[in-house]
Symmetry: C2
Subunit: 577 residues, 2 copies
């Protein structure tokens, strides 16, 4: 059984026993992902190399940093976490990413691409300065290898003068197929071992080694044994060719669709991404001066059809969020209306470029920000709960939060006529469509979803999840005689000053799917104070913590932003009057 | 005269006339910088190549993006801005950086490193899609070429399938000497034209051309003429070797010291950077497990001495702000106390890594953030007015704002015992030392600089500039019978909840050297609302705009955060009671 297997025992296995172990791991990964959801294809592809790593290296004395972390399941299973592995991605369970607080075998938390080489160099340098003898390894996919941060890290290898082993797991895929010049170069090396390309890597101070079949555990053991020797004298790049989805035919054939998979039997919900794709296609039919950019995520963002229909105006630049942002700004200044579709958490990488390249130049870029708010099972590194905060501090940027998938459509149509920076943020799935009499989008104008002649309190909420809570509370409390108005704060920036000025209720409650600091509630507080408007405000938002994995509803309860919490607050206010 | 010279006339010059023109430009640049301050050495080095560009290309029909913008003075002088050039870096005058709102010759605003190649690709693609025939050029120094964003851009050249000319102005310098593997590779190309290194660039889809002396205008004209031909069929990298500071002996010999220079006769003020350097050296004497990282700015940050004294624990990684952040996090997790010294505006680049690598992992990294608040003559792209906002939204991060250079020392000593993420932000120069009875730093504790038994109002201010204003107001209004308490909010996060809770005054005024949104005032508003504390609050901070170049005092007046504005507000409140 995997759960009884210690890292020491792996070292005693014969090579054929190692192969049996690989099969077992693959089966466990497959079964668990079908149950819990998770990253399938990438984790199937890295089984053999991980087993070989345990055979050759001594963890946790030696250290490994998994870039992004989509390849760490086999590592988790072999480092004492097999027993609890069935809790993968569940609240309180095993994380889908490396987590230092989970095991001493995890030395560096990852989640976003490109950090592993820098992290490995930093760790190796610290151990060296402290006189600790450890081998430090970065394990990185070819998709991440496109990221500029990796280049910066390679560039600094000589400066740090310390030895690391970089395993480049090359499966030709990011989440989408890997693209760009570096990928072409790597492919040339893989195919022809082109000497001049290898020498480039050597100019960074790396010794190059190649493995033709990284899914052959014996070949991997031999290569890692040699690499371990070599890295005593300098840094090594071990370039291994693997098959994403290895061993599961459907996944091998559909590596993008099986990159991240939901649990079997998950209900199919309408996704905002579908609306994005459809509406951008519709807009592109009439506007030829329009372009769309994605950073290696076109399928998950709903853009597959757009890329097929308008290939000359659709650009996937790989995992290069900063580059994508500058490209959008420049294309906008060159006269195109540009759309940059991306997950909330990944947009953090382009923060400086949003400020200077897009907003300071007032470029007509629309950011389509998916997976905003709590994203759920991926945990801390993937929650989209900071975007309202880090975007609202930027001058010239309008921020829209559609109340439902229909309103996303309206915002996108609005964006076509809006010639300034605009961010539209929305969660993955749409659950409801709200009744609305006011479908026309006007910059900085909100709408009432429920309004009484005289109300006890006004809930101002942004986005579908928060408005579902607001409407439910309004309905529940109506039964208790309270009249609660509900406002759809469809623009978080600019705020609807006029509506705020005219508010008649003494109590205001804000709800948002974001942290409090710098978010909607904070902006409204500031505005009301500036207007010197006397009223009682209560803000419901996520508190100042990194939010772990869990289901949306669970986390709302745990963080005090659930329907019950807010209803109780209002009830209390009402009863204590 | 330069001011009567049109771009068309340059094209008619003989080669010897071009040389005369270069001398004229050089002299004007030198004289103006001595008068106004500015970037000297880099602008002296780029004169000949700029003249040659005007000779060969047709601006503004053709377009050029200057990376960072430290090389654009000659370009400005040749594109109709000679007459006003004496207003360089003054309020309302010519900017030291490319600015679209200044001239149709400027097509893309820059200020931070590494954006030029992405921008050129984006512009070229937009023009191509719109059927406009223009040549697009990126002009970039070897220092910027280290930045990961450039690598991402090169990597996407093939994806965009459009032609640009990249002029790599290689003078072996960033602000500090250029470092790292890429620089070594470029040097090998320069020195030996090593074929394998050139082929790397070709794998990105670039045709390589080299110019041995980029300060020879005739050689540059010939090379650019050829490059212009070549770029009709594909992208070109023109690698030119130049001398930073060219033509001014002292600058050639001291390119770092003459990178950015103040106007002649500027008063010498004590700088926070000096205190940083001294104190870090002091700490490093007793703590061997300590390291310092800089991103190509060690001199300006006051770290020259530290790098000399502790070379094995001091790392300059080049213009790679993200890499520096991850390296600090990893070294901290590996057991070192790490310090990352950087300008406020440049830290924006590492936003995602501050969140995930440093703060989510609760790593013992101290950010020493120089040039915070209004930085002055460099304008929009260099104002450090966003850091309180984008840092305060990050969990686990404490933010300290010393009131004077002495308190910076105290904070650094405090940091040595603090094992979590900490940001310390301060402006360039220290003007005063405040009297203080409470020099002991305690996390989240503020101090009163002036306190009355019963006060009319309390000013809560962070940082030297704001506290100077606060103290002056307190003194001025005392003469009018008002008692104004002054609190030094030395931690912007966590706030001093106890002090806020115990505040007795009805009026609270906040002052900060930051934008309002997400800054100190906003944090205090949120806290007071959460505590349900009845009081009148007025926030003074920079409004939601990009702030142009100007002197600190000028901008304070213009943006309503001057002593007069705040004093008048308080007087009004007092008189209307």
């Amino acid at each position: 059984m995997l759960k009884d297997l210690s890292p020491e025992q792996v070292k005693k296995y014969t090579k054929s026993e190692l192969n049996v172990l690989c099969d077992k791991l693959r089966l466990t990964i497959y079964d668990t992902v079908m149950q819990c959801g998770g990253h399938l294809a990438s984790n199937l592809g890295s089984v053999e190399s991980t087993v070989a790593l345990f055979y050759v290296f001594d963890f946790p004395q030696d250290k490994i940093v998994f870039d992004v972390g989509h390849q760490c399941y086999a590592y988790k299973l072999l480092s004492g976490r097999a027993e609890n592995f069935s809790t993968l991605r569940q609240a309180g369970g095993i994380s889908g990413f490396p987590k230092r607080n989970e095991s001493e075998y995890d030395c560096y938390d990852t989640g976003h691409a490109g950090t592993s080489v820098s992290a490995a160099i930093g760790l190796a340098k610290a151990y060296a300065l402290k006189g600790e003898k450890r081998n430090v390894i970065a394990y990185i996919g070819d998709g991440s290898f496109n990221n500029g941060l990796v280049y910066e890290a390679l560039n600094s290898l000589k400066i740090f003068n310390t030895n690391v082993l970089i395993i480049l797991n090359d499966n030709d895929m990011s989440i989408s197929p890997t693209v760009g010049g570096m990928h072409d170069m790597l492919t040339q090396i893989k195919d022809k071992q082109k000497a001049e390309n290898i020498r480039l890597l050597e100019s960074f101070g790396l010794t190059y080694m190649g493995v033709k079949n990284g899914n052959d555990v014996e070949e991997m053991v031999d290569a890692l044994t040699e690499a371990k020797q070599l890295m005593q004298n300098g840094s090594v790049l071990l370039h291994i060719a693997t098959k994403k989805g290895k061993g599961y035919e459907f996944s091998e054939e559909h590596p993008t669709n099986t990159h991240g998979v939901p649990p079997v039997g998950s209900p199919k919900e309408k996704e905002y991404s579908e609306i994005l794709g459809e509406t951008l296609c519709e807009l592109a039919e009439t506007n030829t001066d329009m372009a769309v950019v994605s950073a290696a995520m076109k399928e998950a963002l709903g853009l597959e059809e757009f890329f097929k229909k308008f290939p000359e105006r659709a650009f996937d630049v790989g995992i290069c969020e900063e580059n994508a942002s500058v490209l959008c700004a420049a294309m906008a200044l060159g006269g195109l209306k540009t759309y940059y579709a991306i997950y909330s958490t990944f947009l953090q990488r382009a923060f400086d470029e949003i400020i200077h390249d897009v907003c300071a130049q007032d470029a007509a870029v629309t950011f389509c920000i998916d997976r905003a708010g709590i994203s759920g099972a991926d945990g801390e590194t993937h929650q989209g709960v900071f975007d309202l905060s880090y975007l609202s501090l930027i001058p010239n940027l309008a921020i829209a939060v559609p109340k439902d998938t229909e309103e996303l459509k309206s915002f996108l149509r609005f964006s076509a006529t809006y010639s300034h920076p605009l961010a539209i943020r929305y969660p993955r799935s749409g659950k409801v469509l709200f009744d609305s009499n006011d479908t026309k989008i006007e910059l900085g104008k909100w709408e009432y979803l429920r309004q009484h002649p005289i109300a006890n309190a006004t809930i101002i909420a942004a986005g579908e999840r928060s408005l579902i809570i607001a409407m439910k509370i309004s309905q529940n409390l109506a039964e208790k005689g309270m009249k609660i108005d509900v406002v759809n704060a469809r623009f978080v920036k600019p705020l609807d000053i006029e509506l705020l000025q005219n508010l008649q209720t003494e109590h205001i409650v804000t709800i948002e799917d974001n942290v409090f600091l710098g978010g909607l509630g904070s902006l409204i507080n500031g505005q009301l104070i500036a207007m010197n408007k006397p009223c009682k405000i209560k803000n419901f938002a996520y508190r100042d913590e990194f939010i772990p994995q869990g289901k949306v509803g669970q986390l709302q309860c745990e963080y005090g932003v659930s329907c019950t919490d807010i209803e109780n607050y209002l009830l209390n206010v009402y009863e204590s009057r």
